[in-house]
Structures are given as structure tokens and as C-alpha cells.
Symmetry: C2
Subunit: 429 residues, 2 copies
């Protein structure tokens, strides 16, 4: 246990590892746990008769030939896909469910001697979470062409307890820096993409419904916010002469939440670091992450403008308190955009495949609902280039990104079934 | 450069090392820089004819014999003392000035063949800052008997970029774990203690005065505050269902400042760490440091009670927002006291020595003022067992605990002179 643990990792290790319901999962992208999961994925899908392809950003495509296939993965397959990476203290379903259900789909096809029209596949996308390398949906984003390979390769880890690394270094070191172009154009082609995922919110549970037919995903942006003030002595500097970067950060955090609430969006600060980090020094600098979301692109930008106004307001308030020594109490706030994802509407055709499969399996339409996802998913990126839709299943207490994240076995089975049938339905189209 | 730099050390390295006025000093206690400064202190004072003694907490006493001395440091000497450790990004005067002026005092005594009545000495106290091991005035506190040797030895470093260590381990590894008891009772005895220090506040500069005659030090307490909520997804958890530990911390920080302001005290949060530290996870736990100060012990305790009330208020507000799912949004706040120092009044006798020396040197009483220190000093601890007083000199812009901390050479010289004469005056008493 490193002493920095006290100030960088204040976890009260609440997880009783024996209890599967709270054990959670810590599998940050590209670490050694991720490599193990990748190895399992490759071995399992190959043993089920697939050929596997690893591209330059580490996305792994497992393809099961169909009646009309070639041998180099160039005939577009219908994919089930999601991700095997997790949050630093995440759950066992987020992402994993979609990949595991894809593998199960392969088993069912094999066990029932089903031959599909085209090839079908399962894809494990690299770094969907964005928790360690701060671009979410990164592997699928590179494949879709919205993130450049160079930018992704050069990202540096921001997770406090991981080592200095870049994406490219870690891809190499875990043996998953593939040679196939990470591109929808000249890499592995995808005919359609279906993703089973837990809802990560409470709606299905509250409505007692088994399936969410996901029509789209809300917009979100990530920022690194740097607040600069001036270090000074905690025992001798009166408030009027402080430029306290952490006090300004606290004001920012409370005001930004109010803005998001009033505009019907969300805003979250998940990371925050203080410098110089000393009990008796007024902080001179704070760096924090900001995640803002809204179902509408326009409203998201309005939120952003209002937040920028708040920054100017905090800066000028700090000046006003100075009692004539204005130059001493300057606060500056800078916001750097790290990532942006517009609101997305999935393809009506793919949505129909999901909805018809759900109807067939559940019987009545009261057992499912159409919904929009609050979280980002790799399907956001695939939807830029092929018919895409998602299937949600209920999530206990609406809690995700938490070790206690939970889905009932029966719900997983229903979701996997809807996934299988959505893929088969699309394959036949 | 470790990647955690981004979230644990957001320094924008503003210091132009070539410019002595902003270069500052980073000499955290018991690190290798501190060892170098200690070696310098021992060699220099020994070369000036002193005998040096290192006690079990690493305090170093250099003693110059007087007319009435023995050979084992048991005849109480009149000391000039302060500390050579600094803040993580501190200034070049805080503490160092008092030790350097003590060494200069030895030189002046030697150069002028002055023999004192009793022995005189210079002492370098261990870990005055409390920045790395979170008890300030630690070495002098152990000597005074208000901190137990075991408690001090077992302290763990809290500075994010220093390694896992305890005080005792580091004392051993830098060669300053002495064998002499760290105790006013059976260790090195002190007849009187004078400390020259920069003011660390703006009063002398504003009043255009050269010397502050310090009558006492205000009360202060340090706490580790742990706020627990629940990790959840930043994109899917609406505000009503969040137990956001960082949002609660932000509320705490802004409210505590208001309490301190309204009661005429100070409150500062200098360290803060977030868990799990992921951009898209609502924080489940925050740990922060709290420093509260007031000239009156009674008012400080009133501040503390009000702050404890604020904790209960934040806890119950969090419950109220839950819209019926109360159990999901619980916030708990725990405050652990790490350190407390009552308000102190120095000895009238020692204060008189300082005031008379200032009068002799500066001529008119308009050139100095009596004042109370906002910061803690080793003199707080020595004053528990021997006549003690302090001398302040002006501090540029009132700024300390900052690399740009600055004192004019002329002011340092006046201060060192007042120190010398205060010691001589007390020696003759
Ligand atoms: N589904 C999911 O948790 N995605 C992570 C990206 C985000 O929405 O923050
Ligand atoms: N003089 C000084 O900076 N002391 C450090 C202890 C404190 O007052 O916080």
C-alpha cells in the first residue's frame, strides 16, 4: 500500500469479494486483466469455429462464416458487439454482458447447426469506458473514423494508480497491437451491429419491463478544467486576499450542477486533483474533469455556454473580494474539450429487428419499451456506418459504474435471446 | 514524469528557477534535501565551535558554551530556533530565516570574542510544517511532551508524490534518528527560546514597519474529513438518485468558509482526493483535509460545532432529494481530528527582551508593533516550558507557503540583529 493511497485512493474497500453481488470488476482497458479477458475471447471464439482479426487499435473481431463468405473478413458480417473493459471499480455486466451474449450466440448457432446467409460475428471494442484513457468509445471511434488512430495511440493514462503509458505502448505490451487497419473503410467491415447492454438506469426496473428497445443515445462532452489561483498560507491569509483554487472549484461544482438541473441535462465531476496538496497551504491550482450530457445537441451547447459564463463569473467574483489588491486574488478558469459525442438516432431498420424479436419472445408489447440511452456505447460509432440498434435489460436499482451493479440471470437470458434473434433477422434481410 | 502527475500534481511549473525571487524551496521534512540542509547545519555550527546533539525525533541542538556551562548540554542554553523543512512548494524564508539568523548569531559572537553567561544555542526542529507528516510543530511538540514519541514516529506521509514511509523509517534512513531523549525533562534543556520568522501576512508591510514583536499564536485544529456516497454512472443517474461525494464535498467547502468568515476565523481545505477517480463515474468517496483557526480557543470550538452541524445538514439534505428511494442517496460525513494547538501567549519577560532590542535598534516605537501570529511555530511548543518570544519581519505582499515568498535583505538583517540582542539580553537576565 503506497502512502499516496491516502490522498489518491480513499477507498474504504467495502467489497466483500466472496459476495458475487458486490464483488464488481476492475478491468481497466489494456491492463493485464484486460489481456486475460482478450485471450479468453480469442480462444473461445476460435474454438467455436471463428476466425479472429485484431486491428491497429486492438479491436478484436471474431467471425463465423455464413453461406456467402470469403476468407479475409471483407464480406460484411452482422455483429453482436460490446466491450470487455470496465471502470476502476465497475460492475460485472457493463460491456461484458454484450460480448458474453455474443459468444453464447455463437454456441447456440453451432449447437443447432444453423448456417447464416452472411457471416456473423462478435466484436470486443477497445476502451469503451474512457476511464483510463479519456476518450470513451475509443476503439469503435477509431474504426468509425471519428477519432484519429494517432490521437488514440498517443493518449496518456489519467488513472491515478496506473503507470505512465500510452495506448500504443500498452497495446504492444499486452500483444494486441494488430496489423489490420482500424477503419470501416479498409479494415474489418460490419454489415450491422447489435449490442446487448444493461440499462444502467432505473426505468425498466421501475416499469417492470424486461427489454428496452434503444432508439438512440444522448449527446455528451468531456472537459479538463484547470483553475488557477495562488498558493498562500492557510493560517495567515484572510479570505479577502485569497485566490483559493479549490474554493473556486467547489463553487464551480455546485453552480454547474444547478445549470444542468435547470436545463434538463446532467453534469458530473468525477476526477479532481489539488496542487500543491498540503493541509496548511491554500491551493494554487485544481484540475478537474467535467462530463456534461443532454438528449439534445442544441441544449448541450447551451449548457456549455452557460457553464462558460459561470467560469467568467467566478473569475470576476474572485477579483471583487480583494479589497483593493486585485492583482493578488486573480482566479482563472480554463476549459479544454477532451471528447464530444453528438446525440445519435439508431437505424429504424435495426430497431425494428430488435422490436420484432422482443415481441416474438415476450408476447406482449407491455413487456418492453422504446428508450434513449443516457450512457455512450460503441453502437454510437458503428451507427455512423451501418444499421445499428441496442437492447437494454433491467439494472438493479438503476446502479452502474459501481461494484454492486447487478442483472438477474433470467433478464440476461431474455436479452441474449433478443440479441440472437435480432442478428438472425438482420442476416436474413 | 509519472502519468498520475495529471491528477495528483497539476502544477503548471511556473517557477523560473533562474529567478531567485520565484524559485522557492521544496524541502519536505526528512527527505534527501532535508538531510543535506541538516548536514550543512551540523557542519557549520560545529565549525563555529558548537557541540551538536540529535534527539530521538531528529531535532538538532547546536550549543556554544558560555561562562557557566557543562559538557553534556544539561545546563539550559538560551536558544535561537526554527526549522529547515519547507512546504512542497514553499518559500526560502519560512523557518530557514530563523535558523540561518541563529547561525549568523554564532558567527557574530565568535567574531567579536563575546563570551555569554550561560551557553547559547541554535536549534533546528523536525517537521514544523506538517505538510508531509500531518502534525505541525512535530519535533518541538515531542520535545514539549504534547505529542508522544510513538505517535510521531508512526506518522505516515500524506504527500501524494512521496513514498510510503513513517517518520521513524525516514529518520533512520537519513541518519538523524538520535539517541538523546526528545524531551524537555531529560533531553536537551532550553533556558529560553527566540524565533525570528517572516510574518507570512501583510500587516508589517502595510504599516511600513520593520519588526513585529510577537505576543502569541492563534489556535488551530486539523481534520481528515471523509465523505461517503455511492458510485454511479455519470450519464444515467439523475440528480435525485445520486449520492455524489464530491458534490457534497463542494457544498461542505463553500459552507465551511462562510462559517469561518462569519465567526471571524479561518478555514481552509488544502488536500482533497476522489474515489474512484473516473470521468464518468459519480464519486463514491472523498477525503479532504480541513484546517480551522481562530485567535480564541472558545471561538474555535464554536466554529467546530457549527461545522459539525453543517455535516449533519448535508447528510440530511442528501436524503431529502431522493424522491422516495432514500436508502439510495445516503451521504455520510466523518471528521477525524489529526492535530490541535491551543491559542498561546508568550512570556512577558521574553517579549520584553524582543521589544527592548527592537527599541534600541530602531530608535522609535513607530517602527514596530506587537502582534499575534496566524501561523503555528515551534515557539508555541517551547513556550510551554521556557520563556519564549518571536520576532517577525515584513513579508512581501503578505504571501507565504508559495515559491514567491520574499523578504528584503535589509529587513532580514534588522531581524537577525533583534534576534541576537534578544538572546544576549535574556542570557544576561
Ligand atoms: N455504457 C457505458 O458505461 N459507457 C461508458 C461511456 C459513458 O457513457 O460515459
Ligand atoms: N509558520 C508556518 O508556516 N508554520 C506551519 C504550521 C502552520 O501554521 O500551519
Amino acid at each position: 500500500i503506497h502512502s499516496t493511497a491516502k490522498w489518491t485512493e480513499p477507498k474504504s474497500s467495502p467489497s466483500i469479494k466472496e459476495d458475487i453481488r458486490t464483488a464488481g470488476l476492475s478491468r481497466l482497458t489494456l491492463g493485464k486483466e484486460d489481456r486475460q479477458a482478450r485471450d479468453w475471447f480469442v480462444q473461445t471464439t476460435e474454438s467455436l469455429g471463428c476466425k479472429t482479426y485484431v486491428d491497429q487499435i486492438g479491436n478484436i473481431f471474431a467471425i463465423r462464416p455464413g453461406l456467402n463468405s470469403d476468407d479475409n473478413g471483407r464480406v460484411p458480417a452482422t455483429f453482436a458487439g460490446s466491450h470487455l473493459d470496465s471502470q476502476p471499480s465497475g460492475g460485472r455486466f457493463d460491456g461484458v454482458l454484450g460480448v458474453a451474449a455474443g459468444v453464447e450466440m455463437l454456441r447456440v448457432l453451432n449447437d443447432n447447426w444453423i448456417e447464416t446467409e452472411g457471416p456473423v460475428g462478435v466484436v470486443n471494442w477497445t476502451n469503451e469506458e474512457g476511464a483510463k484513457y479519456p476518450i470513451s468509445m475509443m476503439g469503435s471511434g477509431v474504426w468509425a473514423g471519428r477519432v484519429s488512430l494517432e490521437d488514440a495511440w498517443n493518449l496518456k493514462s489519467v488513472h491515478p494508480v496506473s503507470e505512465v503509458t500510452t495506448v500504443k505502448q500498452e497495446l504492444e505490451s499486452i500483444g494486441y497491437l494488430g496489423s489490420i487497419p482500424a477503419s470501416h473503410k479498409n479494415g474489418v467491415r460490419i454489415g450491422a451491429h447489435f449490442e446487448l447492454h444493461l440499462e444502467q438506469g432505473p426505468k425498466l426496473e421501475v416499469a417492470r419491463q424486461a427489454i428496452g428497445v434503444v432508439e438512440g443515445v444522448q449527446a455528451y462532452k468531456w472537459f479538463t478544467v484547470t483553475i488557477k489561483g495562488r498558493e498562500s498560507h492557510a493560517g495567515t491569509t484572510d479570505f479577502a486576499n485569497r485566490a483559493d483554487a479549490l474554493y473556486s472549484a467547489a463553487t464551480f461544482i455546485t453552480m454547474v450542477r444547478e445549470v444542468a438541473r435547470s436545463l434538463g441535462g446532467l453534469a458530473s465531476v468525477g476526477m479532481l486533483a489539488v496542487s500543491p496538496s498540503s493541509v496548511n497551504t491554500v491551493p494554487g491550482e485544481v484540475r478537474l474533469s467535467l462530463d456534461i450530457r443532454h438528449p439534445s445537441d442544441k441544449a448541450l451547447n447551451e449548457m456549455l455556454k452557460t457553464i462558460q459564463g459561470i467560469c467568467r463569473q467566478i473569475e470576476s467574483n474572485a477579483e471583487n473580494t480583494s479589497g483593493g489588491r486585485t492583482h493578488l486574488t486573480r482566479i482563472t478558469i480554463d476549459m479544454k474539450e477532451d471528447f464530444a459525442s453528438n446525440a445519435v438516432k439508431f437505424s429504424p431498420e435495426a430497431i425494428r429487428c430488435v422490436e420484432q424479436s422482443a415481441t416474438d419472445l415476450l408476447g406482449e408489447a407491455t413487456k418492453f419499451q422504446r428508450m434513449t440511452s443516457g450512457a455512450g456505447h460503441d453502437s454510437v460509432c458503428t451507427s455512423m456506418h451501418c444499421p445499428t440498434a441496442m437492447i437494454f435489460i433491467p439494472c438493479k436499482d438503476g446502479i452502474s459504474h459501481n461494484p454492486s451493479e447487478w442483472c438477474e440471470k433470467e433478464d440476461c437470458a431474455i436479452g441474449a435471446n433478443v440479441l440472437l434473434h435480432s442478428v438472425l433477422r438482420m442476416d436474413r434481410l
